[in-house]
Symmetry: C2
Subunit: 149 residues, 2 copies
């Protein structure tokens, strides 16, 4: 059991038991602009073949093949410094915890987008544990508290 | 060779070759308020012994045993979600890349503080590679681009 799972105040869990609206953050006038950073330089331990996209570039292509979820901007990034656990993506947004996930492949694109959509609906970045995709539950590399500039 | 190392524009490397002032960010009127988050709940794979502090708590105690470096605020945090690579700390600050480091112990406290001090002097969070402590070069878990709220 991950302690991130336990790091949700009881009153929050109770509140989540009520029916959820599609975009509660938007309804409350919060900034929904979540960013999904994708490490496009990641080799994920594979040898580089000239003329062939590296795994990070392939993951980015898979994520941008369809429209991004509402409230999510997908941003290619040169290095998320998670080289030994690539491919990697990060989620961040105003007032929210940031999360980094690793050991991803292009086949994870649908789950990553689903998790990013759920993240975008939160005010603090904390998606209820059971609503997170399995890859987000099991492949977290790190999270960072909300930044207040 | 880490690609984070290469992710520094050439003009930046040239600029760094000139003598460095102690606090260039401060001299240029930038916000020096860097935050060093320390995961205090981390067990680092050790069994929990009742009445004994977990490794994360011991790391936090070691980091706060002396005064924090100029421009660095040390913040205990309940979970940085890097449980399989603990102990973990994160560095963040306005306009800066955030970094998370793992596999740390209380004996690393002096190097963590030294690295945090160097981070606080930067405008963008990118400390020149050779000026980073070895633990920061080799034990990066992830980094996240600057957040602009």
């Amino acid at each position: 059991m991950r302690c991130d799972r336990l790091n949700v105040p009881r009153r929050r869990i109770v509140a989540r038991a009520r029916p959820r609206t599609p975009f509660p953050a938007a309804r409350q006038g919060r900034d929904m602009n979540a960013k999904l950073y994708v490490c496009t330089t990641c080799r994920a331990g594979e040898p580089v073949v000239e003329g062939q996209p590296v795994p990070g570039t392939r993951l980015h292509a898979a994520l941008t093949a369809a429209d991004a979820p509402d409230g999510v901007t997908i941003i290619p990034t040169e290095c998320l410094s998670a080289c030994s656990n690539g491919c990697a993506v990060a989620l961040a947004g105003p007032g929210r915890w940031s999360y980094v996930y690793g050991r991803l492949t292009e086949t994870d694109a649908p789950d990553i987008l689903s998790g990013a959509a759920a993240y975008a609906t939160t005010a603090d970045g904390i998606v209820p544990w059971r609503e997170r995709p399995v890859i987000f539950r099991k492949q977290s590399l790190a999270r960072i508290p909300p930044q207040e500039n």
